[in-house]
Subunit: 206 residues, 2 copies
């Protein structure tokens, strides 16, 4: 049985391999990535990579889970201010977490590149589907709370959450692929004006 120190050390090694994978993916892209490129970004022995992961396929699937975990947040807490909670969530999805030195857009670039390849890989697709469901679920939770509390109209929360999740995804993709640096800001303003404007319960009766 592994001692706590060994477990801890194994966890550290895995994390270091994951960060090496991130740097290698950022530099080489998924298409051209070889395990040796990851080895070159990794400070310890390359044999440790082969000890922990069963080839590039397994490594990338694990990396994807690791990447997405960094964006995970409990989305089921109590909502006391639905408008504030909705705004915060949209901002965080569009602009990234407020952590200094956390390279959000480099991570998102890798995320979107792997997303585009997900149809070729059932395990990748399952991870992305879980993440999509989580993003939509967190927004649904906020919208349902707002409807219950009378802050929002009685909307189909899941359908609206799906629309917002799609807009977030597209704005990020547009920034990354087309170089539209202001795509997240544009999306935020358009959502405010054309979607959320009519969500206010006080504006009109249904």
């Amino acid at each position: 049985m592994a001692t706590p120190e060994e477990v801890e050390s194994g966890g550290d090694t895995r994390r270091e391999i994951m960060e090496a994978t991130f740097r290698a993916l950022s530099e080489h892209g998924y298409a051209d990535l070889r395990v040796r490129d990851i080895g070159e970004e990794f400070e310890k022995s390359r044999t440790l990579i082969h000890y922990h992961f069963d080839g590039k396929h397994d490594l990338i699937a694990s990396f994807l889970e690791y990447l997405i975990e960094q964006y995970e947040e409990p989305g089921d807490g109590e909502i006391t201010d639905p408008w504030g909670a909705l705004s915060d969530r949209l901002d965080q999805c569009l602009f990234g977490p407020e952590i200094d030195a956390f390279d959000h857009w480099e991570r998102m670039t890798v995320y979107h590149e792997l997303f585009a390849h997900a149809r070729h890989d059932e395990r990748h697709r399952a991870v992305f589907n879980d993440h999509y469901a989580q993003l939509r679920g967190n927004l649904t939770h906020v919208l349902e709370a707002g409807v219950e509390q009378g802050a929002f109209h009685d909307v189909d929360a899941e359908s609206l959450a799906q629309l917002l999740t799609d807009v977030i995804h597209a704005a990020r993709a547009r920034r990354i692929s087309l170089g539209h640096e202001d795509a997240p800001e544009q999306a935020r303003e358009a959502v405010d004006e054309f979607v959320l404007d009519s969500l206010a319960a006080s504006e009109r009766e249904r």
Copy 2:
């Protein structure tokens, strides 16, 4: 100087190379594609590919232009029915042109895969930027006509057209990458309910 027959034949050959490229991309994906894979899908001599194109890079950029041309439509015609024109345009973008035997989703799959790689290639990025501008421009044209004719509220047409273009892109990406077959239908319904519902000039005054 080339005779008309030779020009015609050159056009045919280029089209045949483009369709061979499409089949090879569908089968192998962009990452693993070699010019020889395209050669295997091409019925004529492989040397013709090298005669017409300067390597994989040039071939793919030309293919991208060819692919996008198939979706091009003049978007500056007179709009007599703004609601109908908007609905038709959204349907066509989300569900594909109504041409039997035109494999819209296979073409879109290739499109989205190349889109994800566009940041690596300025020529690809320029083609995608032109196409994005065209899609948004066509929607802007319909929205402006509707505003002018009093069918729609006085909205910022360009901003709304950008939001709709983003939603279309995301729904297609979600269908392709995550396997959500109903993503286009979901997006259409959500756009109707949450975006277009408040576009009606008669619904409320600004």
